[in-house]
Each structure stands twice: as C-alpha cells, then as structure tokens.
C-alpha cells in the first residue's frame, strides 16, 4: 500500500505538483471514466480556464481566475441564450458577518463560529464541516469583493439600516444587493467587459462531455456551439437528451489549466429529481428553466463523485415561520393534514402538502388565516405583496369577509370547513391539537375566529438542489473511485455539494457561490497547464 499512500501525499502537496503516474501503472482499481488521448482529438479552440455557467458562482470564478493571472485566457460558457443562470432572477440576499452595516447597528458579537452554528442547525449533520467553514469564514471577503466590483447594497432594508435578521440566523446579518441578482450579474458582466481583457463570455455552448486523460487529469471538453434550449418541453430535462434536442455543432475545447463547473442545480428536471424523490416529479420550481440534469450527468460520466442527491430545499412564497398562524386544509374534505408549525421544518410541511395533493388529483391545498393570524405575520411587507398579487405564481393571498365566502372561492363545502375550524379551535384551546401543534408558539393567534379571513394556495417550490459534485475545501472535484481530487477540475456554487445538508439556511446560497467561486477561480488559474 506504500504506493497508494505516497500518491496520496503527492496530491496533498497541493496543485501544481508534478504529473502522477498513470492510474493503471499503480495497480489501482479501474477508473470511473473513459480516458481520452489528447492526440486523438482535433481541438477547435483552447483556453487556460473554462468556466461552465454564467451565474454568480461562474462569474466570480472567472473574474478571480482572470485577476489571479492576467495572462490566462478565461472563457465563460453558458448553454442558455440568456446569461446569468438562476442568479439573474434571484434576490441574492446574503449572510455577512462583520459588515459595516452590521457594525452600524451596534452588533459587535457576531462571528463566523456563530454563523456556522446556525448553518449546522439546519444541516442536521449532513454537511462536511471543512466545506461549511469555508463559506462561514469568507462572508466579509465576499461582501467586499462584490462592492469592489461595482455591487451596491440596498439601504432600504431593515428600516434604513441595510441589514436584517432572517429566520434561523442568531444575529441581524443579512444584506441585499441593490436590485437583487440582476444587478449583481450586470455589474460582474460589466466589470469583465470594461476591466478584464482576458475574460470572454460565450452563450449557447452546451457541455456534452468532460475529457480526462489516462492520468485522470481533465484536459478538455466536448461541447455543442449554437445550442438551442427549448422551454416548450413539459419536462425541461428533455433538453439534455440528444434525441429530443440535437441542436448545435460539436466542437472540442482544450482546457489547459482548469475547468470550473458552476452549472447550478437540476431543479427543473422532472425526471431527474423525481427519480430521487417520487413526489417531486410534480413540484413547481422558480429557478431558471435551464436548471436541468445535463451538467451533473456529464460530471458523473466523467467520474466526479455525486453526493446529497436526494436532499432538496423547498421555498414558499411566504416565510416558513408565518405558516404557523394558519391552518392548511384539503379543499375537498375541509380537513387539516399536518402540523403547520412543524418546528419550522419547511421540508416536512412541503412534503405533506405534495403528498396530500397526490390524493386529490393535484388540486391545491389551502392555507387559511384569520385577522389575528395576519397581525402576527413577521414579514408584513411580504404579506402585503401577496395581498397585492405581486408575489409571483401561487403567491397571492385573498381576503374574505366571511368563512363562507372563503369556502365558496375555493369550491369547498362550508359546513365541512366550519366543522374542522371548530375542531381546531376547541383542541388548541386545551393545547391538544390532533397534529401536536404547540399552542405556545401561536401567541395570540391560537384560533381561527376573527374576520376578515385570508387564504392562499400554498405550494412548495423546489428551489435549491443540495445535491451535486462533492468538492474539497479548495473547490476541487473528487473522483468517485479513488476519492482523490481530480486534477484540473473544480466545482462551485449549487453545482457542488457538501457545504450544506438537510436544509440550507436562508441567505446562504450566495455565500457558497461566492466563497467557493473565489477559491475555484484562483486555484484554476494557478493550476500548472498540461499543454
């Protein structure tokens, strides 16, 4: 075994170590990938660093690669004709420890250790702590990086302070970029255009295959240029099937230093996510339509180790902690089916809703509040957005003068609904709810009795894929057979896995994308070229 341990030590010396002996010569088990001889390939183009994906993670990786070495040719390639990934249409709020905004409101006792604790409370042990620490420690650096590259922060948040305490966070530390993800993407694109001559952004380039040589090093990719993604498929994942979408012309790109996969999640891929979790086939998603399984499949085919694939994160149009004030009912029976507090476990509530919907031909379940519940809402701003019908699809909250009017609107039997509301009120008065919802968390809203009434069709959206390619703290992809980093391969952002776990704490996707984007870009540029 001495050959194995010396090889492992070799790799641990870090990037840029001399070329390792071919896998076969060391007598190790067969590789997880089909090796490519670079001499067999007619390369159409070459670059030092190739970043796949133009969202926040990809753009930050590209910028850091280009800044790390001004002589490096950096190309960002995105399969879509619309750049920016899911970042473009996200709010991109972020948890930052030690920002000036936080200091201005007198918070001096926040720390990365406290943020780590908050994250791990949600991760419930699924995460790899060495990865989570990278994210927890890098928030201030990321905040300043974004500022230095043109991003401004929204000072209208938190009553003019620019910082807010979101659910699950122990301190007020969450900040919002002015104009959300759209602004972040625009600023980063603009920075590349005006300040970095060595970054080129290309769209409609589909990654088909990742090529590794017989030493396991990533040497290049097979792509299709002028690819046309089609939003007309019921399952957007069909776009990754060449039989259903054969657009584009095959080209081979030689990637001399590093490939950075910043390809986001697979949330829009019905079959791929449905294979992991049955009820998820029919879930909604408001991530970008291009979030399909093609990239993770290409990584798996190339021997990258996938983990956490069954984990997912739901998002509701309203804060999870505000669901508790109401009751969730099956519109056909008027009956409740879950504890609406559920320890703020949005996964459990989301799964219960999807499962209940399966029994009623996919009809929506209804969340009902009374006036007391509405007054207890944490996020009044979001509540009013919903009342105005401006909170996206399934985000609208309707107001009714009576329970009858409410029942009518959702085609419910008024008597059945009333009977169930009465049962809820009676049980809750004794703190004996049939679903064990604790009276203590409801404060003054422990009954549904005071008009006017409010209702919405609460439906979970699958908006974050914890699953992806496992990485090292240096953002290196890990080989599924050897367990070792893959030379020349990096993954960052939602495409990677291990930083988070059972649930991802809110305002933390950005810090994963950003901190690992920085690490991946720098390390890719520093990798010694193979050609």
């Amino acid at each position: 075994m001495s050959e194995n341990s010396s090889r492992r030590n070799f790799l641990k010396l870090g990037l840029g170590a001399a070329a390792m002996a071919p896998v076969s010569a060391l007598g190790l088990s067969s590789a997880a990938f089909a090796a490519t001889d670079p001499n067999d390939i007619q390369w159409d183009d070459e670059m030092d660093v190739l970043v796949i994906g133009s969202g926040m993670a990809g753009m930050i990786a590209a910028i850091r690669a280009a800044e790390t070495d001004a002589s490096a040719k950096v190309v960002v390639a995105d399969k879509m004709s619309r750049l920016g990934g899911s970042s473009l249409i996200s709010g991109l709020n972020m948890a930052v420890v030690g920002s000036d905004l936080q200091k201005n409101i007198g918070i001096t006792d926040d720390s990365w250790e406290l943020l780590l604790k908050d994250i791990e409370r949600e991760a419930k042990g699924y995460n790899h702590r060495e990865l989570t620490e990278v994210a927890a420690k890098g928030t201030l650096k990321l905040y300043n990086f974004l500022k230095d590259h043109g991003v401004e922060y929204d000072m209208s948040i938190g009553g003019g302070t620019g910082v807010k305490k979101l659910g699950g966070h122990s301190r007020a530390r969450c900040v919002w970029p002015q104009g959300g993800g759209t602004e972040v993407i625009k600023k980063l694109q603009g920075y590349c255009k005006t300040q970095l001559t060595n970054v080129e952004i290309r769209k409609k380039i589909l990654l088909d295959e990742i090529l590794r040589n017989d030493e396991g090093r990533v040497i290049g990719v097979k792509v299709r240029e002028k690819y046309r993604f089609s939003r007309k498929h019921d399952d957007l994942g069909d776009n990754d099937n060449p039989e259903l979408n054969s657009s584009g012309k095959v080209k081979y790109y030689k990637v001399k230093r590093g490939l950075v996969m910043a390809t986001g999640g697979y949330n829009q891929d019905r079959k791929f996510r449905g294979d992991e979790v049955g009820t998820m086939y029919n879930a909604a998603s408001t991530t970008q339509p291009g979030a399909t399984g093609g990239a993770i499949k290409a990584m798996i085919s190339a021997g990258f180790k996938p983990i956490h694939m069954t984990l997912f994160r739901f998002a509701f149009p309203i804060p999870t902690e505000d669901i508790r004030w109401g009751i969730l009912v099956n519109p056909r029976t008027g009956e409740r089916f879950v504890d609406e507090y559920n320890n703020n476990d949005r996964q459990a509530i989301g799964m219960a809703i999807l499962e209940e919907r399966r029994h009623i031909d996919g009809e929506h379940t209804v969340l009902i509040y009374d006036q007391k519940g509405a007054e207890h809402y944490h996020d009044q701003q979001r509540f009013h957005l919903s009342l105005d019908g401006k909170n996206g699809i399934n985000g609208t909250i309707w107001k009714f003068d009576t329970l009858e009017a409410l029942a009518d609107n959702f085609k419910m039997n008024t008597n059945l609904l009333k009977a169930n509301v009465d049962k809820y009120n009676k049980n809750m008065a004794q703190d004996q709810d049939e679903f064990h919802k604790p009276k203590g968390v409801l404060k003054g809203a422990s009954s549904i009795s005071q008009a006017p009434y409010y209702a919405m069709q609460l439906n979970p959206r699958y908006n974050y894929a914890q699953g992806g390619a496992m990485i090292s703290p240096r953002a290196e992809a890990i080989d599924v057979v050897t367990g070792e980093p893959i030379k020349g391969a990096f993954v960052c952002g939602e495409a990677s896995a291990g930083t988070y776990g059972y649930i991802r704490l809110t305002a933390c996707s950005t810090i994963d994308c950003g901190t690992f984007g920085i690490v991946a870009g720098e390390n890719a540029a520093k990798t010694i070229p193979w050609a």
Binding site: S81, R82, L83, G84, L88, I89, T182, K186, K226, R228, R231, K232, S247, T286, P289, G389, G392, I393, T396
Partner: protein, 125 residues
C-alpha cells in the same frame, strides 16, 4: 424602409431538383404579420437548400427590425414599471428575439414563466 436579406440565387447553380417551396411553406407557416408581406423562405434563410436552413439569430431579425433599442422604444410606455418585455428589469436590451418569438410555431412568453402577466400582457406575436 425594409432592407431584405439578399439570398436569391439562380436555380441553375444547383444541379439537383428544385425544392418544393409550396409544400415547405404549407408546413412551415408564417405569422400573419410576415404572411402579409408575402415572404419567401429565402427572404430570411441563407442559401437555396432548405436542408441547410438554420434557426435565425437575433441579428437576422434586426436586419429588418432595426435594433434592440428601436424595438424596445415601441413599448416605451411600459418602461416606468420595468415591465417592457424588450427592456425589462432582468434583461434590459440583451434578450435574443427567439427567447419568446417563433415563426413556424406558437411563440412563448418568458416573463410568464415566473410572473402572472395576464393583467399587463397580451398574446406574444
């Protein structure tokens, strides 16, 4: 005024049989606004061989429609709310025409993927 893509090639250049343009036009129908102008396939598609025709790029559309800014200005009244599909909050002037518009199939509405647009948008031409 309109400038047309020049693609008319004399048929004697190609030794093979002339493509059945009539059947192609029946299968690949035009939207009413282009139908009115009595366009032939070759008005937009390069070359004289339908097998080689490729989907249009935005600059092809803009050879008649001018520029992204000109197209956006037609719906200027929607700018105050950033709801102008050709100059939206998320994309400004940078969307490709074919994100929404198709010629031989029904068009789609990118905004409607996430937003409820029924009160402020009609059918996408």
């Amino acid at each position: 005024m309109l400038t047309l893509l020049l693609t008319v090639t004399a048929s004697w250049v190609y030794a093979d049989a002339e493509p059945d343009w009539k059947s192609l036009a029946d299968e690949y129908t035009l939207k009413p606004h282009h139908q009115k102008l009595k366009f032939d396939c070759v008005m937009c598609h390069q070359g004289n061989d339908p097998e080689e025709f490729e989907p249009l790029e935005s600059e092809n559309c803009l050879s008649c429609h001018g520029s992204a800014k000109k197209v956006a200005d037609r719906l200027q009244f929607m700018d105050p709310n950033h709801t102008n599909p050709h100059n939206s909050f998320h994309d400004g002037l940078s969307l490709d025409c074919y994100e929404c518009h198709a010629e031989h199939e029904p068009s789609t509405n990118l905004c409607a993927d996430c937003h409820t647009t029924t009160s402020w948008m009609g059918k996408v031409p």
